[in-house]
């Protein structure tokens, strides 16, 4: 099923088209949502809502972009609402005390779990707009002008947000993750 047929099927709410959409883009959307909101349960809900809204608004899709880009645009909007709603949540100290304390992890562990945890932690400390550009650039592999078009901002703004986000990530990610390549964080004179 090509993209045209898929969109046509979605407009008719054809279950086969929905299955095709989930099979083609579900995992990627879920991964992107996990990076954007930092919570897999919330990411699952966000992707589910994205798929719903995609089917409902398929008649308005004009084919100006790929289906994935269109889906990702819906996901981004929903993620922004999610972050806005989270800001409105009242912090309950009693509930916070009931939450289990985060498990201490050995700093020398370099397995995927630690990398994912540290990465999620560093991402969570970024503001929404900075997280968005970072994920779009380095996970979705979008170019500057694509990010600018996707977010409706200027290329200069994308660059400045990226620069700040990268600097923050460099500052926050643990050195043990060896994210800086074979030479680590050392800068050697050439």
């Amino acid at each position: 099923m090509d993209e045209g047929q898929l969109v046509q099927g979605l407009r008719c709410q054809d279950p086969l088209a929905v299955q095709e959409m989930v099979a083609s883009h579900g995992d990627r959307l879920f991964r992107s949502a996990s990076l954007l909101c930092g919570n897999q349960a919330e990411a699952q809900d966000l992707v589910q809502e994205t798929l719903f809204q995609a089917v409902r608004s398929a008649s308005r899709f004009r084919g100006g972009s790929s289906i994935y880009t269109w889906l990702h645009g819906i996901l981004l909007n929903l993620t922004r609402h999610y972050h806005r709603d989270r800001k409105r949540m009242v912090y309950d100290e009693k509930l916070a005390r009931l939450e289990p304390a985060p498990q201490e992890e050995h700093p020398s562990r370099l397995d995927v779990e630690l990398t994912a945890g540290a990465l999620a932690d560093a991402l969570a400390r970024l503001s929404g707009p900075h997280r968005e550009v970072l994920v779009l650039r380095f996970y979705e592999d979008m170019k500057i002008h694509e990010i600018a078009a996707h977010l409706g901002i200027s290329k200069g703004t994308v660059k400045s947000r990226l620069h700040y986000a990268i600097a923050e990530m460099q500052r926050r990610l643990p050195a043990e993750m060896n994210l800086f390549g074979a030479c680590g964080t050392d800068v050697k004179e050439q």
Partner: protein, 203 residues
């Protein structure tokens, strides 16, 4: 320009801060280098030439750019490694399909109830129309009720002006130098009223 290694998260020392300020203008250009050759074309040719010229002359900036490039590559790799095991649970698809099916059923049910209401509404509307018609016939066909003759306007000669006056005594008390002083005041009130002459004659 030499950039000493710094552990991530550690604060900048004063000398590092100065160096960071020195390379501030270049930092923006430096960030360009990691976007890759295609998107780097978004820089103006002059700015790109200036950046490349500077990079060829300054090993510290070259290293900084290389470090950012390496970090960017590592970040991409880390994002993919961190999320590679994530799969969208199958129940999401099931829930989407179920909800869409429910939504499809709901409008049909709504339509059915609308048509059944329309079916029932016809006899009710007909009965209401007949009732309205009968009521209209009843009100418009009955004989008009004669209006009671209006009373002739009263003339001024048929009236008598009665003026009453009465006196109202008012007793007051006040304190003066520790004594209670009382006073009785008489006030005359006058009331004027017009009465029909026959009523006045009765009295």
């Amino acid at each position: 320009m030499h950039l000493p290694p710094r552990a991530p998260g550690s604060p900048l020392s004063p000398s590092e801060g100065e160096r960071a300020r020195e390379r501030g203008p270049f930092a923006r250009l430096g960030s360009w280098s990691q976007w890759g050759p295609k998107s780097a074309r978004t820089l103006s040719p002059d700015a790109q030439a200036a950046a490349e010229r500077h990079l060829s002359e300054c090993p510290a900036c070259r290293q900084m750019v290389e470090r950012e490039r390496q970090f960017a590559l590592s970040l991409t790799d880390s994002f993919h490694r961190a999320t590679a095991s994530l799969r969208l649970p199958p129940e999401v698809q099931r829930r989407v399909l179920m909800t869409l099916a429910e939504e499809r059923r709901a409008p049909e049910a709504g339509q059915a109830s609308f048509f059944s209401w329309v079916r029932l509404a016809w006899p009710q509307a007909l009965a209401a129309s007949v009732l309205l018609l009968l009521a209209g016939l009843f009100f418009f066909t009955r004989a008009p009720v004669p209006k009671p003759a209006s009373a002739p306007p009263r003339r001024a000669a048929d009236e008598v002006l009665v003026q009453l006056s009465y006196i109202v005594p008012t007793y007051t008390f006040r304190h003066e130098d520790g004594f209670v002083v009382d006073a009785l005041i008489y006030q005359t009130n006058v009331v004027s009223e017009r009465f029909p002459a026959e009523l006045a004659r009765l009295h």
